[in-house]
Amino acid sequence: MSRRRIALLLGVLVVATFVTSSTVTAAGDDVGAFSQKKTVTRENVDAFGNASTVDSQDVTLEVDHTKNLQGRERVQVSWSGARASAGRATNPYGENGLAQEYPMVILQCRGRDDSSLSAGKRLSPETCWTSSRQQRSQVADTSAAVWRLDPFATEADRGQVSGVSKVPAGCSSPGADSSLHLTPFKAANGKVYPACSNDTMPPEAAIDGAFPPAEQAAYTGVDGKGETSFEVRSSIENESLGCNESTPCSIVAVPIMGTSCARGTGDLADTNGPCRAKGQFAPGSSNFSGLGVDDAVSPLYWWAESNWRNRISVPITFGASPNVCNVLDSRAPVGFYGTELMSQAALQWAPAYCLRKDRFRFQHNVQPDQASFTLMEQKEAPGAFVSGAQEDAGEDNGSPEYAPTAVTGFAVSYVMDRPDNAGEDSDLKLNARLIAKLLTQSYPASAFGKDHPGLGDNPLSINQDPEFKALNPGLDSIAREAAAVIMSLSESSDVVKAISQYIATDPEASAFIAGKADPWGMTVNPSYKDISLPVSEWPLLDEFIPVMKDDCLKANNDTPYLPRLAAPVTSFRKIAEAVLDAWPLAQTRCTGIGTDLSPYVLGRSERQGVGARMLLGVTTLGDAERFGLRTASLQTSQIPPGGTFSSAAGRTFVGPTRAGMAAAVKTAEQAKRGAPFTLDMEKVRRSKGAYPGTLIVYTAARTAGLEKSTARTVAGFVRTATTEGQRPGSGNGFLPSGYLPITRAGTTAALFTSAQQVAADIEGQVGETATQAPADTSAGIGGPGTDALTDAAATGDDAATDDAPKQATSDQLESLGSTASLTSTLAAWALPLLVLLGLAAGLAGPAMRVLAARRRLR
């Protein structure tokens, strides 16, 4: 017994040591995953007054992240244990989702579901956003107004006119045999919209509003499970709803169980009456043509108390809005220019700088890589975000160095619906040749493109391409203009360079561009044949103008057809939002009747209908993660051009995961201190698990000629960004999803070390300038008064020009370079190893005895 006690004592000591040495995690890395279980019921009262529970389900709802959300961010909502839906609508959003049975209604509401709060801060159906009147307010024959029999509703809510005390001005009163229920919308500014007609809805609910509906009646499978992405709206997108950092909001999920029914008179209360209806569709079925459903089990009456009481409320918080620094910080911003790959990180980082008086006001201005690099070299900007080596501007470039600041990349984001209402495709595989086909506009897209010389025999769009079908079976083959191109950037960017490098280093893709037909006979658009890659700016080379017959199209037929389809834009964000909304950028929709009042106008094509969406676009990983877009896996194995194939077998595809990015970073090499790391596409492909779209973003800054305070600012930024800024999380100053954290140890250790070195070089301004003065004046342009350290540094390590006299004497300061790394494996592992061995042996010994004792008992 005593040995057990001693072992226990030792164990307690060891555990205590662990506990006291564990660190406290900061709050900003908590993304607020949510899970709640609730029993939901439908309870009817029959004609004799007997109450019975018709249906009861234990619903568990989960949301993957709920904290520090940004406008338009999508959260993943999943649930289980719900009643299986029926009559599935193709489009579950807004009023289109109403013709379904037993769906999960998901809404965004202002306020919290907390009875301890004052009424103004609590959520109610009146603070829940819907984008149409039909979802809020109902007029029905009294014989069909099921809400009037709701046993859980108050007496007032069961009257002929309910939801409001009297019919508001602008709304018509119901007839003698009708009943009216209004669910007015209370806007954040206090204004109440009666919501009895389209004209009495909040302005954001206008037909063809700027944003498509976000609320949805989502579908539960026959196994009781369901999942969907839910897009939240901040006060920037929806001022009436008004959710922001200071106004708490919730996502409310109402599992539709059917309205409960009390005892009553007339047809309504009949055993087979509308109130007790159980649905017309079988569980799991689809309702393609939008046939009528039993209202009692449809999402129409989500606001009725018997449905509403079943709700699960998910509190959400919004992060600092993008303009928080403009509002709260009056200091002049320090503008870093550069790649859009940084925008999502900068969005979360900026408040961590501007809200602290001891830091500066950080601002990220999106600019093409090379342009921002040149700005930096010309001292127009303190630093530039670039994702690769840039060309020097020439004289007096200030010996710029590159500090690794973020690891992220590009993604081919897409939205594709499987045919027959089977939901979205979630595993798209693309190879370099398919991307090359899209970028070179080799799909003719429609009958107009068929006339293009050389494209007549090509598949119309990517989903008709046998190569695409082989890699992605199970998608439809209906030709679409939007699926003939990939939405891309019109500006110069290192991302475009990386994509073209990916194509250029792939044998199949480069052979295709060189003019070799693919195994199924598809050939490259002759305008792009033999285009030399890589390029930083994808050119629009096609000049084919088809013959149009339609009057409207004829009137606007002065630009080439395929470039109009490709319609590249100036920012990745626009592409991301286009994918999010399934709204192609193609400028091919012609409206108007040709009169002066309504001229023929060529504009952006229509949104794709849910159920038949097919759209691809190049986005940043940060945007893709923020908006919850699906991203394609890219082929990494290099296959020499050969025969046809019918499946993805034998090819490896890697998606933009952290592991994929880490594997890519592992292949990166640095030529010398301060230089950017090169991500050689050949090596990336060889290491099977590396994601080819990985890019390292650097903060490039001058190491000479920068004013001392600016140098310190930039160096401080690099240090903060590579330490504090690399903690994953959604809070201010944390690193959003879509970025691989750069850490002191591990795969990204080399990047970290390099960043610290460059920060030191920038702060010390150790570089040489073209206009370097003799050593008796200071190295910096700051003139006399630059501190001795800078002076000495210029003559030290990177030893200045040959004519600089050697003055590194003992009485003059000299830079000693950087602190060498000295590590000890023994020191790093002695204690954990001892603890581990001790615990293992300590468990194994007694365990043997216990086993022996058990054997004896048997």
């Binding site: 040495s21 140890a745 610290q756 950087s818 602190t819 494996t825 790093a828 010994g845 004792a853």
Partner: protein, 317 residues
């Protein structure tokens, strides 16, 4: 120790009268007894006990380093403080020249954090069990030039752990035989950070060297050497007589001291002898008496052996 069959209730009389029996009280006898009582084969008993012994040794080492070492450090500091105090009072505290390793040379004081540490001369692992060590080829604290101190970060009192966080930006007073100097603790320097320029003539700097871990279980894995620079704010003192030119390998950062191996072997031998002798003594003199005599002996030997083992580990651990 817990595996030794001291604690087991003996059914036989413990008066040693069984001396004439076959194999009286031998190891085999004990094993047979254990085997019979738990139905384990002899080999299983040996392996199981061996594992428990191994576990106890390992965990003892860990506990010694993390917990008991703290006691040892405090006691050592007490002793060194007394010695330094006496030397300061009589003017005998060293100011330069060759100082015997292990002698106290300075007192570090960070009043706001309650830090009060005596620094000893020499930086080998053994000297640093009870105090931070002063690197012998650098000037003494307070003198012009760079003075280097080593300190453990996670074991034996963790003297320099405080320097990595709380002490940053604070003023530290250092008392030596020449008087009191004030240093401002300025920065933590990790690999890749620029080395500050050497102090100008007449200026002084104190570099504190310790270790730090990163990543998972970082507190238990201080594998990387980090430096804390402090600059002298007060007037520097003149350097004393010439210092040693070179130091032993065991005094470099992260080095272990292997010169203790013979001593360790002897101690372990002694420990083994004590452990083996104990059960026999118990049969001869009874449990109570044996416990009284053997427990302190074994504990002291175990403590000493663990200390010597730590000599072999990196000195900044």
């Amino acid at each position: 120790m817990t595996t030794l069959p001291w604690g087991r209730k003996d059914s036989r009389p413990a008066n040693g009268r069984r001396r004439g029996d076959k194999k009286p009280g031998g190891v085999r006898d004990v094993l047979a007894e254990a085997t019979s009582s738990s139905s384990m084969s002899e080999r299983e008993v040996v392996v199981s006990s061996g594992l428990v012994v191994l576990s106890v040794i390992m965990l003892w080492l860990v506990v010694q380093m993390l917990v008991l070492g703290g006691l040892e450090f405090s006691r050592g500091q007490d002793r060194l403080y007394g010695q330094l105090r006496a030397e300061l009072a009589t003017g005998e505290a060293p100011t330069g020249g060759v100082i015997a390793p292990g002698d106290p040379v300075a007192l570090l004081k960070l009043p706001s954090l309650g830090v009060d540490q005596v620094v000893v001369e020499g930086t080998s692992a053994g000297h640093m069990l009870t105090a931070p060590g002063h690197r012998r080829d650098t000037v003494l604290p307070g003198q012009a030039g760079v003075s280097v101190l080593y300190g453990r970060s996670q074991t034996f009192g963790k003297p320099f752990q405080v320097m990595l966080q709380d002490a940053l930006g604070k003023d530290m007073n250092v008392v030596t035989g020449q008087g009191t100097s004030t240093y401002r603790i300025e920065q933590v320097r990790r690999p890749g950070d620029p080395v500050p320029a050497p102090p100008a003539a007449g200026q002084g700097r104190l570099t504190l060297v310790t270790s730090q871990g990163s990543g998972f279980l970082s507190a238990l894995r201080p594998g990387e050497v980090v430096y804390v620079d402090a600059s002298l704010r007060t007037k520097s003192f003149a350097g004393g007589a010439a210092r040693v030119n070179t130091i032993a390998k065991s005094e470099r950062p992260m080095a272990g001291d292997h010169s203790v191996l013979p001593m360790l072997a002897l101690t372990l031998g002694g420990l083994l002898a004590a452990v083996v002798a104990t059960p026999f003594a118990r049969r001869r003199f009874g449990s109570v008496l044996t416990w009284m005599i053997a427990a302190p002996v074994v504990l002291a030997l175990a403590w000493f052996a663990a200390d010597l083992t730590v000599y072999l580990l990196p000195n900044l651990l």
